[in-house]
Amino acid sequence: MARKAVKSKSKSRKSRSKRTSRQKPGLFRRLFRLLMLLAGLAIGIGVPWTVWLDIQVRGEFEGRIWDVPSRVYARPLSLYSGKPVSKSSLLLELKASGYRQVTNASVPGTYSVNGSQFDINRRAFIFEDGSKPATRFRLQLRSGSVGDLVAVSGSEDPGLVRLDPAEIASIYPLHDEDRTLVALKDAPELLVTGLQAVEDRQFKHHHGVAFRSIARAFVANIRAGKAVQGGSTLTQQLVKNYFLNSERTLVRKANEAIMAVLLELHYDKAQILEAYVNEVYLGQQGKHAIHGFGRASEFYFDRSLQDLEPQHIALLVGLVRGASLYNPRRNPERALKRRNQVLDIFEVTGLLTENEVKKAKGRPLGVTSKPRSGGSRYPAFVDLVRRQLKRDYQSSDLSSEGLKIFTTLAPSEQEYAQQAVSKGLDDLKQRGLPADLQSAIVLADVASGEVRALVSDRVAGRTGFNRALDARRQIGSVIKPLVYLLALEHVDDYNLITPVKDEPLSLRQPDGKLWSPENYDHKSHGELPLMDALVHSYNQATVQVGLSVGVANLIRKIKQLGIAVEVPAVPSTLLGAVELTPIEVAQMFQSLAAGGYSVPLRSVTAVLTPQGELLSRYPLRFMPLENREAIALLNFALTRVVEEGTAQALHGLLGNNTVIAGKTGTTNERRDSWFVGYTRDRVAVSWVGLDDNRPASVTGANAAMRIWARLFRSLPIEGLDLRMPDGANFVWVDKQQQALTDPSCPGAEQIPFIEGSEPQKKTQCLKNQKGKNKESLWRKWFGRKD
């Protein structure tokens, strides 16, 4: 109380002079307190803030630490006497494996060709099952296959030689982006010095932030009245790249500056520069960002960084300031200007001579018209590899550096498959089909389930929607073989010649509407043998048969064949109102093609450590299905689809009469075209349609089958083996009469039957024959179709 009184008293009694003399210490003290408060805040907030930034930036830096990527290899090509291989496919394989054609193959990694005589110097390589030294050998191609293998060095002639496999990708199995790493020592010197010359001349001297540059830029910007210069160091740009954010607020800039200083505290110049070279944003491909000069070099020039010329390097360095702004494909003139500007800087800073710069300026941009994809020519297949690795391995296994991943891809077959799609779709366009059709192919070995080729786009190497793995489309008539398979398993009710009714029918759907399926020719064909209904893909007969075996059983069969997809339990499922992907269809039919021995389709065979030790192997395992006799019968019927049914144009397209089983598929309003076909050793599915699912005027035969045929024209193929398993036999019958007959009788055909389900009736012709020729009865009844 007293104090207050004193205060008020002092206040009221204060003279000006007294007040001013007292204000100074008060003001000073307040200022001081304010400063202390600010300092306290600065430390209290600033220190933890800086620590947090430190953790962030180090996390980013080390998180991207350049693990050696894992290398992905195609399957090695085996060469041995008798191996069917064409000259063009051998050349493709040599090229894919990086072999150079020379006149004298004296160095590993080279080969020479003289007509059909090859002299190959195979490199040393650590294969899946051990390492092999370099070896040189000769072979002659004779009528589509390899003659004898002859050793060149005087050692024993090899019975079997493998080419070292093509390296098809470098991946980080745990990340989704592909990177092409460049070690600083491997980067071209012009790039390293050029970057500093253009972006950060003080790089060697500053500690993260260059105040001189900032000041200079500040002045330049004020003079120009707008932002014309950046004062950021390479370190700051690196930080900016980590947290790519287009906001250029003061707070952001301050954060970046602090983080840049912190980076310089932790890491040396070489590390930072190397990180920068591999991190800086240089372009965009769809949803994939192009980071680092290694990738950018492939992306723009389809060359490795080491193969670039000065004008290329100048272009890339120029892109640092604005990858979209100076995009050489979108803005070639602006890109050229910027490149020349950079070349000038190179000259001014003494990195290139006047003459060199003049020469470089005279060169064109050199950018390829189509960008090469993420480090791999086969992005669809590599995508499958990634998915299977993720599915089958622990993250802890895959995070190891430099793994060697051996896959099943056959580069020559992949090439043929891609051509089949690209050229096939162009051809379809000529025939009046939509110009923007898309397609997918899955090609696999029947016996092992190994995927030899995967195509997902009409444009080779384009990364995007992986149609072979992800395009979920109605399969239409491709489901029918499964319906008939079920019927054939009901041995008491159905065999291949059991009469079925192809007649109009109407079913009431759960929603009250009537469903009245029609055949593609809008006709009904009355009563006919079961086999014929499948061969001609009649809808009405299929629904009849399907209803009798039960939609629920069909759904169970789909699961049994390895496809875990939710399928609606409605009658339209019988006609393929089921959505599957091409690889799922391939999986289903692999089992049938292998005569009932199901193998999961796979793309990886083994993973080795960088030292070449086996980390893990995917062994061959299959699962025998029940009712393999019914499958054998079905396969026979599917060869008839190709002989005389909806796929009868196939032999003409192939140019030969090889026994092939196949099924066409067309969906409602011709939105999808499917063809699945198999020979003795290979199964392939092709799909054609429009991405937006609008009607495309495609049928199974006019689109997908043509593309399938294009592929198989280039492959060595063996006809399907129609030998029946125990429990089924070929029998001479008359289809129409449903009776046993003699081979010499009219209408006689050899058709397989499960033992006990053959017709018992005999044709009159047979009865007459029987009288004549008793001895050869055994022969006639159980003769084999050769």
Binding site: Y80, D129, L160, P619, L620, P624, P725, G783
Partner: protein, 175 residues
């Protein structure tokens, strides 16, 4: 000195025994079924088949590459390197996917690695694709029999054993 302490300890803690004994029993019970070793293959599959067949040999001609690989597989198998042997056979199968001898050889490897389901699969496929008579037929069915036995299908094993003897009807079926 230690021993004394130990026994003293043991004497002092009968609970230890109560814990140990069940553990030991559990360990015994949980042992994996005995693998089929190389000897058993010889006595139960290969020797009887070879005896039976005397005269009926139906072998496909093997190409030199397959010969080389199967020879390496045999060496690996004898050395007990079964995974390696599988690897060689798989390579051979990539070259000749429908060679019944390769498939049967693989079936026998699978028996030795206690992979009875796969032994069954490979033997069945070898039979389906093969001549269905002769020594290889006999090996197929004897393998199936051994595999089924280990899979606790006694009647199946019995049927397979009987089926093996029918392989010696010297006239191959003509279908």
């Amino acid at each position: 000195m230690e021993k004394v302490v130990w026994t003293k300890r043991l004497g002092a803690c009968p609970r230890l025994l109560v814990v140990l004994i069940p553990l030991l029993l559990a360990a015994c019970a949980g042992q994996p079924p005995a693998k089929v070793d190389d000897d058993e293959i010889d006595t139960r599959v290969r020797a009887p088949a070879s005896e039976d067949s005397a005269g009926v040999q139906v072998y496909s001609l093997q190409n030199p590459a397959v010969k080389e690989l199967t020879a390496q597989a045999v060496v690996a198998e004898r050395a007990g390197e079964l995974d390696k042997a599988s690897g060689y056979l798989e390579r051979a199968l990539r070259i000749e996917p429908r060679d019944p001898q390769l498939l049967q050889q693989m079936a026998e490897i699978k028996l030795q690695t206690a992979d009875y389901q796969q032994a069954l699969s490979f033997a069945e496929r070898s039979y389906d694709i093969g001549p269905r008579v002769g020594e290889i037929c006999s090996r197929n069915w004897r393998t199936i029999s051994v595999a089924k036995e280990h899979l606790d299908d006694a009647s199946g094993a019995n049927d397979a054993e009987k089926r093996a003897t029918r392989c010696m009807n010297t006239r191959p079926k003509r279908y």
